[in-house]
Symmetry: C2
Subunit: 288 residues, 2 copies
């Protein structure tokens, strides 16, 4: 499995790959072109994989010596509002409440945060929550693609924490403002390509808050699989390389739901997804 990253070098961003060494992760530089340009070109992706295979990890710098940034800078971040089925008693059809179509909203560009960035809990937001999600990164332009074609337009998968303030989200019919505070979309820490991820509908998504597992559900329980979502969105809009489609959040476990309190400065939330990795975000106070 190759983990593709964007990292900061001085004022510039560079692409890279993470290699495992005996004493921890190392970084292989992949040049100054944006990572999405490598991942949107099969030949360049293959060349990068070959460079990873040929590298001597022990001779590379430690991953910890650089600052990871969001692996892409999406022109558009689309999110699904409801996509995981809840638990139902035996004998009840789990698909009975399925909506006919995805409920889609947008996170604006100011929300993007890198995997090393804290999320700022704004002074005006008192009901901040996390949503750990499988995020799809578009690699090839997609317009009017069928579900059968859709996965060919995916560069890879990463993790999005769709941080949301519930009270702003509920002020009006449209959720945008509750979803669009600065830094409310930590993305990363890396992209894993489709051949390494395998079936995107067989991934365990978990959230750990302050040491306690609060979410644990497989993408097998989604209503709309990745291929259907990308196809559906592409009926409306041209999806461009680097765009991110986040696939909705599994509900909290019942005991976590009962114990839930809004996020506060000092809290830490980790979203981990099988065969991808984990994204840990620290919440801090605002400067106002």
């Amino acid at each position: 499995m190759v983990r593709f990253v964007s990292y900061r070098s001085g004022s510039a961003l560079r692409a890279g790959a993470v290699l495992r060494a005996a004493d921890g992760d190392r970084l292989l530089d992949l040049g100054a072109d944006p990572l999405v340009e490598i991942l949107s070109d099969a030949g360049r992706t293959d060349a990068a994989r070959a460079a990873v295979a040929a590298a001597d990890a022990s001779a590379l710098p430690a991953l910890a010596s650089v600052r990871l940034e969001a692996p892409v800078r999406p022109g558009t971040i689309l999110c699904l509002g409801y996509n995981y089925r809840g638990h139902v008693p035996d004998g009840v059809d789990p698909t009975a409440d399925d909506p006919a179509t995805p409920d889609v909203f947008v996170k604006t560009r100011n929300t993007l945060a890198g995997p090393a960035d804290p999320v700022v809990v704004p002074a005006v937001a008192d009901d901040v929550d996390y949503e750990g999600e499988l995020a799809v990164v578009i690699g090839r332009r997609a317009k009017d693609v069928t579900p059968q074609q859709a996965l060919r337009h995916v560069a890879g998968y990463t993790i999005l924490n769709d941080v949301s303030d519930r009270s702003w989200q509920r002020r009006q019919s449209q959720w945008a403002l509750g979803k669009c505070f600065d830094s409310f979309a930590p993305l990363g820490p890396w992209i894993v390509t489709p051949d390494d991820v395998g079936d995107p509908q067989d991934l365990l998504v978990e959230v750990v808050r302050d040491g306690v597992v609060t979410v644990s559900q497989s993408t097998a329980t989604t209503i709309f699989p990745v291929a259907d979502i990308v196809s559906y969105l592409s009926q409306v809009m041209t999806l461009e390389p680097g765009d991110v489609v986040s696939t909705g959040t599994p509900q909290k476990l019942p005991e976590a739901q009962a114990a839930h309190r809004p996020l506060r400065p000092g809290d830490t939330v980790t979203v981990r997804i099988a065969r991808i990795g984990e994204l840990t975000t620290t919440f801090i106070g605002g400067t106002a």
Copy 2:
């Protein structure tokens, strides 16, 4: 009044200003920097105005000889869902139904269209409608600004047609997909700066569809004035130069509402706003 434009020259965009000559509009070139960079800097704006004042319009090329593009390329386009009061009978408080806060949604970057671009009516969309709106262009970064400060962060005003497919808009709770088809945000044709526009709450907004006036209402009847909207949004997000905030649509006149039919290829819609100008959009069929 100076009308500031972005126009295409070969594969590049250039900034310009429109001057009136006896035989029609002429174009004064203002260089290769994006228009927003001129309008976000008071000194450069003044220099551009001085160049306009000093120019001999009759010696300039015809505006019609170039292709106008959207005056800015916004990183974020924010729109209001409901902001004009309807007509109420005498004795009824017109503010009785005012919401407490703006209802805000996002148009994604694929929606942007220039004033010369047609809007494509997609084959999958059968209930396409227009919304003629006063659009605010941010000139200086704005975060946590008060209503009293807000207008100092505005570079100027232009026109947005918030084209919407009602059936997609109503499929789910969130309107994003009905609002975000490719080309559903014609913007322009130019920006007029605040000193030329004067009071943004005293502008007549009209829509002419196929020769008939279907909307005619003043921004004096809005619930949330521009200064309040910008201030409110800036509590949530950092607004960046070039971002566009569209201020909601006045309702159709009763007879136009009664006669309304969805837009079809071949229709033409003009949005005109006093002291700004008019934006005429032709609707065409999709290629699918």
